[in-house]
């Protein structure tokens, strides 16, 4: 079946360092979304990428969608303690067929 692998599983960084998480899908996606889940909380929508090669920025966050629409990345510049949480990608294929990645848990050390 379809899978979305996400790496790394965990990442510890010093505050101010950069962070990147990667998603790879076994199938071509119609779009991909990114969510953030704080410890004990629920996922919160961050962004959606639709076009091949698309790049979007939100302040210190940069999101990319691969040319083949099978991979994506989230890069955070100069992490802050407020960035702590688990970041999930969610690939969409077909009609309302969502596959969530396994998530990357980010810890930021002050």
């Amino acid at each position: 079946g379809q899978q979305v692998m996400q790496i790394p599983q965990y990442q510890h960084v010093q505050e101010g360092e950069d962070f990147t998480t990667y998603c790879n899908s076994s199938t071509t996606l119609s779009n991909i979304q990114w969510y953030k889940q704080r410890p004990g909380g629920h996922p919160v929508f961050l962004i959606q990428l639709v076009k091949s090669g698309e790049v979007k920025k939100q302040k210190r966050l940069t999101f990319q969608f691969g040319e083949a629409k099978k991979n994506s990345s989230l890069h955070i510049t100069a992490t802050q303690t407020t960035d702590v949480g688990t970041y999930f990608c969610a690939g969409v294929w077909g009609t309302y067929k969502y596959i969530f990645g396994t998530g990357t848990r980010l810890k930021v050390l002050a």
């Binding site: 979304q33 309302y96 969530f100």
Partner: protein
């Protein structure tokens, strides 16, 4: 603005007991509705989605079922819980024709 409610927040149930979790959305009409399960420290697994009243699509075979008796109400049920049903159950909605999902606060279910 739109709001999504889930209850209860936490639930401890014995094996073999029934389950009913409810989700309601306010401030929008004809939303797509979704039920997910998240095992501890894991990703989200889509269980059911609905594009309208009485329309339910199941993504994973299990002993759970879903119903949508009203436009903005989504219910997750089980007749007999298994230990493996423990987890964090999340309801989400999206606008019709879009894919951005907005999640409720979730229900933490422990089956003992």
């Amino acid at each position: 603005s739109q709001t999504i409610h889930q209850w209860p927040a936490t639930l401890v149930q014995p094996v073999g007991s029934p389950l009913s979790l409810e989700c309601t959305v306010e401030g929008t009409s004809n939303p797509n509705l979704y039920w997910y399960r998240q095992a501890a420290g894991r990703g989200l697994q889509l269980l059911f989605y609905s594009v309208g009243i009485g329309q339910i699509s199941s993504e994973v075979p299990q002993n759970l079922s879903a119903s949508r008796p009203q436009d903005r109400q989504f219910i997750l049920s089980s007749k007999k819980l298994l230990l493996s049903d423990s987890g964090f159950y999340l309801c989400a909605w999206s606008l019709r024709g879009t894919y951005e999902q907005y999640f409720g606060p979730g229900t933490r279910l422990t089956v003992t």
